[in-house]
Each structure stands twice: as structure tokens, then as C-alpha cells.
Symmetry: C2
Subunit: 452 residues, 2 copies
């Protein structure tokens, strides 16, 4: 069985939904379809979700509810008209929206969530109705039927019983159309997945039914081996492992939110990223393991906005607990870190700069001086992390030499190098202003023929 | 003022002590002389300290005390006879030893310490007597006069008041001869420095008098840029910074115990390592800062016997506190670590293998699995760390490329790379069996002309 998820642009219009129907129809294994709310049809368009947020705020502030509700219904009406559906589904949607607008407003966050989630929920009803209208046996299934999530105040996550509840989904004759983005608590409160949205729903469903494949349809042909806005026409990645995808998850590779794939990762279910507008393109497949092809490097990512906390102390490496205490001070500021390269008497902590404030830096410096008696403590800013990733890098003699030589040819200085024992990634810290130049040099070294 | 310290081989015989006198005499700034106990005169010789341990054990176990005491006195007598000193000093030494043998044996450790320390103590008396006999005005000063140390059970360290007590040492006409290796608690108990011995005493005295220089006389001409048992005729290091010395302190560079130089380091007092048998050789000078010469690399050290604890977990880098908790588990096993290279979802902890037992490894693996819910946890053994060190490496574009290229030319795989933001060192983890080959390749790259 295949679980497919269609993102916002894939279900933004009648034309797009017809493509979805063709894709689903073309493979009888596609039994479960998770859908987003209608997204943008063109770059200046407004997503249904944004219309819904606007509606929710109007309802909370006694604004123009009727007009804004009509805006939302009209978006669906445009779609149903063009799909040749009758008025029934739009009436259902209008009634549903009115009920949500009239619902309890004591918790504003939950009230807004409830309206936002209607985007996916009503789109699923519409798409199921369309499938049936063209002879594809389909049914809308509500997350109420099994997708149980935890209560506030924790971040929304599916509870273990959700997987048990949903395990027989798609086993009947009908194609299941399931709205993404939300679930219900045991007491029936709707809660949305704040990160990863519909991707998470598809991933949960694929894990619940132990799918053979989770297909994620979006509007790009594949994941690229380097940021196409920096590197001219980069090679597409046809297959990469979960681990490679994670290591590449710095900027330029944000196809999935990190957490969206957790449910399928746990079961080793492969995931494909495919293009609704070009379904015959092979796309990119994410798998637990893969055979190595000739190329050691799968992709190169780069992300700026990093700072380095530098700490030195004579005889640091003799002091059991020094590193742990340093990390504890950072943890107590609720700051996460990326890497901690070290010498014998110094350690650097690489931190995303957006987590720092001048006050937090001062507090950290003061604590490290007072509590750890460091000789020198200071922050430096303006760094980029460049990560070279590939399962084929394991045991590839000379790869670090090729990478460092390529960087040195640009004239840039390497501020930090970090290669873990996994050897699936090689991380360089460089000054931000050299980022694009280095990314191009590395791409040329590992992907393009070098023209001297 | 210069504080000089002479090690065991430098004061092992009359011939050697004459060299010491000549060295001290040749520079009137040499006002304080810290001395060790007589060391080996030839490779099969027994050090006085070992004779004293043997004597102490005999005294504790009702063995042959008189014979073993005579052995010790005879070592001094050989020296005094050849130096032309009369019987007085040997009588003083014999009486002193007898008193120590007769002293309280309730704490065996302190009893043995007291006898061991007599080696330095009596040698200082002898050397002061010799200096005076040849017209060099000198006086023996006991650590009782100011070198106060802490009480049991902590490891012996000089108390802050020791520096105050000793600050006027050497300001008189006489050359001060001061025994290394021990001090006294406030209540008058003798305690020895268990690590770094006489080097620590010299360093404390140099810091107390705010010396211009601390000269450490031993039996080598200099510190070498690489281990001379692996690299043929390596270049000697004429000058290096404290930081370079520390980074090189893995095997092959163990001239000082790490902690011995702490007192002089704090005050930025330069230290020279010189050869008693070749005092005109320039030796190696350790300084707070130094001008850069043409060569970016100062030295290359290599040490085997490292293990890697590898931990991976999907989404590890999203989890604030993961690294800290991992290091805490290791700390609770009283294990220190060297480096922690990391990827996004994995972290490796480099540990000296001699700290690990199969039981400790099992406990760590179990805790990391149970408490941190890691996906994979395992140990790997048999690694060497190779460290390239040099103040000139800072901002030296292309240095990492040269180093990694040199390693890859040997055909060896690089398991780990760690370059901190300090850029004074570059650390490689490699398999132990490639160690010597890589050390030679790196030496050739950075020190010797490459002959292709």
C-alpha cells in the first residue's frame, strides 16, 4: 500500500486536483491520500489557510465575519464549479465554517486552530466528492476517527494508540481521503501539528498502515545536490538515505520539517518526493540504506548565521566535567548548539546566532569565567556552516583532501573542521562572506568536471 | 633573577655536580637552584629515590635497615669523596636518614614520602656544601621555610601563602640551593608532589620570586618537532608558546608533567629546557607569545590507545541537553575525554582506552540506550590521535589541505578531523596501524623538503 500526501499547491485549483486524481488512479496501491488546504494558484494568491486566519481574527474581534467566511467558501466554490460538482459540497463547507465561527472562543489559540484546520478538512471532503464523481470509489475520513493527539500544553504529537486505531485504514475498497495538519485529543479538542503540518499526517498514516511507500507530492521535481540559487543547474538527487537527508537539513534542503518523517523513519518506510506537475519525473527517494554509486558525495548544504563561543583554560583537558559544565550553562539559557570542536585547552561551541542576545552572551561569559575559571571566553559572529554529505564518503580516502584543497583554492580560510566517526558528513566553518564562493568550489570538485 | 632546576641525571655524580656548578657560576642571575635526588649514572644504575623506597619498605617490615641505610649514605659518600668534601656532610645525611627511619610509622604513605624526599633534601645540602667549598657563596634552604602545602587527602599542591613566604628567596648574596619534590603542611608534615616532582618546585620558586626565567636542566638538547624514534633526525624546536606546548603534550613531548608549569604559566614567566651535558646548545624556550617564523607548524605529536564511543539518534540536534547528558554519563564513570566530533544526528566521544573496561563500556552503552533513547551506541578501539600544532597555523590558508593530502598519499583513511576555532592545532583520528606512516608523511610535508 502507498500513502500519498499532496501539498498546498498540488490541491490549489480544479486543474491541480484533476492531476491528483490522475496520479492516484494510475496506481491501485495508492489507497490513502492525505491532503493540504488549497495553497497559492499563483505567486500573489492568498492561501486558504491565510484566509481562515483572517476570518478567525475577525470573529474574535467582532469584525466582518460574513464577508470573510464568504471569501473562503468562494475559493472552494471556484474549485467545485470547475470540477463539475454540484452545490452540495459547498453547502457542507459553509455550514461547517459557520459552526466553527460560532464555537467556544475562550481559548483563542484553540479557536484559531479549529478554523485553520478546516482548510484541510473541507478540502478532503471536496476531493473525496470529486473522486466519487469521476468513478473513483473514495471516502473522506476524519482525524476524529482515530488520530488521537496529546493535550495542551505540550506540542501536538500523535499518541501511540493513534497508530493502533488507524492500522486498518485503506484496507477497504475505497480510496481514503484524509485531511492533513490536525488530530483530536481524547476529549475531542482539535489540535494542529504546529511543525511539519500535513507531512506529519501522511507520515503517521504511512506508519500506522505499515505502508510500502510514502509519496510526498509537491511542486519540485527532486531534491537538488546544492542550492540552485547559488550553484547553476545542480544535479538532482535520485536516492538518499534518511541519514543523508538529516545531515543535509541545513538551509537549501528544507523539503521536510525534521520531525515530519519520524514515524516512517522508525519503521524504515521509504519516502519519495515527487512533482504533481511532472509525475513521470523519478523524484527523490529517501531510504534506510542504499547501494553506493560512483559518487562519494550526495549533496552539499550551506547555512549562515552561526556564532562561536570560544573558551580556553590551561589544563582544560585534565579537568573531568569541564565540557559537561560548559554545555550545562548553555542549556540553562535554553540554547541548543551544533558542534563543539576542541583542542587540548580550548573548546568552541557553534551556536545559531538567532538564539543569542547581547544579554545572554554577557550572562554566559560571566558564568563561564566565574564558575569554570576559564582564561579566555568570547563570542565571534558571522559564520557559515558548510556540510558535505554522502554515504559514499565512508572510507573514501582522500575526500577530506579534495574538499580542503577546493576551499583553499578560493583563498578562504577554514575556521573550523568537524568530521565525526560516522564519516557520512564533513562540516566546515567559514566566514559568511565566503559562503557562496566555497559552495560553488565544492560543487565543482565533487559534481562537475573541473575545467582548468 | 633566574631559577634553575637540575634533574636526576644532572646531579647523579660528582662529575655531573661539577657541571652544575659551572653552569650556575657562569651567570650571576642564577640565584636559586632547585635540585633532584641523584639519578642514574648509567642505564643499569639504581636511583637514590628507589634505594630510599627500598629502605622505607624494609623499615616498615622489620627488614635489613642498617644495610639499606648504608647503601644510601654510600651513594652520597661516592659523590662527596670525588668532590673533595670532608666527612661532615655524610654524617649529617646518615643522622638525618636514621631520624627519618625512626619516625612515626602510623601512616605508611607519609612515612615512605618522608624517606623518599630525603633524596632531594640531602642532595641539596650536599650541593650547597660543594658550592661553598669551591668559593661559590651558597646556602641550603629547607621547604620548611615557606613551602607550605595542603593537608591530606587532597593531592599535594602549594598553598597561596607559599608564594608570599618565598618571595624574597635569592635576594641575599648567597645562591639558594632548594630541594625539589616536597613541601610541608602548616602542622609540619612532609608531603611530596606526586606528579611533576622537582619541576613543580622550580616552577613554584620561579613564580614566588617573579623570576625573569625558569631554566630546566635535563639531559636532552631540546624538544623535537616530532618523535625521533619514528621520524629520522627531526628538527629541534627553539621556541614555542605555552599553548603549543600544551597542544603537543600527547606522547613524544612529555618533557614536563602538564601541571608542573602552571605557576610560571600564570605569570607568563618563560621557561627553557637545556642540557646539563651541553649547556651551550640553545635548548627550547617556552614563552607566552612569540613572533612567527616562516614555518606554520611547530610540531607534530602522535599517541595511540584511543577509543571512540559512537552515539546516533534521529533528530539528536533538536534535543537540547543531549550532548550534556551524554557527557554526564561518562563523567559519572570518572572518565575524561579528548574530543567530541559530531554530525547532526550523531556524536563521537574520543576516550583514552586505558580508562575503559568491558564492564564500564556495557554500563555506558546501557545508560545511553535507556536514558537517552539513542538509536545506535557502540565503542570502537585502536585509534591514534595525530595533532599538528603551530601558532603559525592561524589563518594559514591551505594548511588543512596540505595535511589531509599528505595523509591521503599514505593510503590511510581519516576517521576523525577536529579543528577548533583557535586554529593552533589540527587533530586527526586514524587507525593505530597507520600512525608511524602518517607521522612521517606529515613531517615530510611540513618540515622536510619533499623529494618526488
Amino acid at each position: 500500500m502507498i500513502v500519498c500526501k499532496f501539498g498546498g499547491t498540488s490541491v490549489a485549483s480544479a486543474e491541480q486536483i484533476k492531476k491528483v486524481a490522475n496520479i492516484v488512479k494510475s496506481n491501485p496501491d495508492r489507497k490513502i491520500v492525505a491532503v493540504s488546504a488549497p495553497g497559492k494558484r499563483y505567486s500573489e494568491d492568498i492561501k486558504v489557510t491565510d484566509l481562515l486566519i483572517d476570518l478567525a481574527n475577525s470573529a474574535l474581534n467582532n469584525g466582518d465575519v460574513a464577508g470573510k467566511l464568504a471569501n473562503v467558501v468562494n475559493r472552494y466554490k471556484d474549485i467545485t464549479d470547475e470540477l463539475g460538482l454540484d452545490q452540495t459540497i459547498c453547502d457542507v463547507i459553509a455550514k461547517d465554517l459557520q459552526e466553527r465561527v460560532n464555537s467556544d472562543k475562550s481559548n483563542k489559540v484553540l479557536f484559531i486552530d479549529n478554523l485553520k484546520a478546516s482548510g484541510e478538512d473541507n478540502n478532503a471532503k471536496l476531493i473525496a466528492a470529486y473522486f466519487n464523481s469521476i468513478g473513483m470509489k473514495a471516502k473522506y475520513v476524519s482525524p476524529k476517527d482515530g488520530l488521537v493527539v496529546n493535550d495542551l500544553p505540550e506540542r501536538t504529537m500523535a499518541l501511540p494508540e493513534a497508530y493502533e486505531n488507524l492500522k486498518d485504514l485503506g484496507k477497504g475498497d475505497e480510496i481514503v481521503v484524509f485531511p492533513g495538519f490536525f488530530g483530536y485529543t481524547k476529549s475531542g479538542t482539535l489540535r494542529t501539528f504546529d511543525r511539519g503540518g500535513s507531512d506529519i499526517t501522511g507520515s503517521i498514516l504511512a506508519a500506522a498502515v505499515k505502508a510500502d511507500l510514502y509519496e510526498n507530492f509537491t511542486d519540485v521535481d527532486c531534491v537538488f545536490s546544492a542550492n540552485p540559487t547559488v550553484v547553476n543547474d545542480p544535479v538532482g538527487i535520485t536516492e538518499l538515505t534518511y541519514r543523508e537527508m538529516r545531515e543535509l537539513s541545513y538551509s537549501g534542503f528544507s523539503v521536510f520539517h525534521d520531525e515530519a518523517l519520524m514515524p516512517v523513519y522508525r519503521l524504515g518506510i521509504p519516502v519519495t518526493i515527487k512533482n504533481t506537475n511532472n509525475p513521470s519525473a523519478p523524484g527523490t527517494k529517501i531510504v534506510p540504506t542504499r547501494p553506493l554509486n560512483g559518487r562519494p558525495v550526495t549533496g552539499i548544504s550551506a547555512d549562515s548565521g552561526f556564532s562561536i563561543l570560544y573558551v580556553s583554560k590551561y589544563l582544560m583537558n585534565r579537568e573531568i566535567g569541564f565540557g559537561r559544565k560548559l554545555l550545562q550553562i548553555i542549556e540553562e539559557e535554553h540554547i541548543s548548539y551544533e558542534h563543539t570542536p576542541s583542542g587540548l585547552d580550548d573548546i568552541s561551541v557553534i551556536i545559531r546566532s538567532n538564539q543569542l542576545t547581547p544579554e545572554a552572551e554577557d550572562r554566559i561569559i560571566k558564568r563561564v569565567k566565574d564558575e569554570l575559571h576559564a582564561d579566555d571566553v568570547h563570542f565571534r559572529h558571522g559564520f557559515t556552516l558548510i556540510v558535505i554529505v554522502g554515504e559514499g564518503m565512508r572510507n573514501n580516502t582522500g575526500l577530506a583532501a579534495r574538499a580542503t584543497s577546493a576551499i583553499s583554492r578560493t583563498g578562504a580560510n577554514i575556521e573550523m573542521i568537524n568530521q565525526g566517526s560516522s564519516e557520512v558528513s564533513l562540516v566546515f566553518g567559514v566566514m559568511q562572506h565566503s559562503e557562496n564562493q566555497i559552495l560553488r568550489a565544492l560543487y565543482e570538485e565533487f559534481f562537475a568536471p573541473i575545467t582548468v
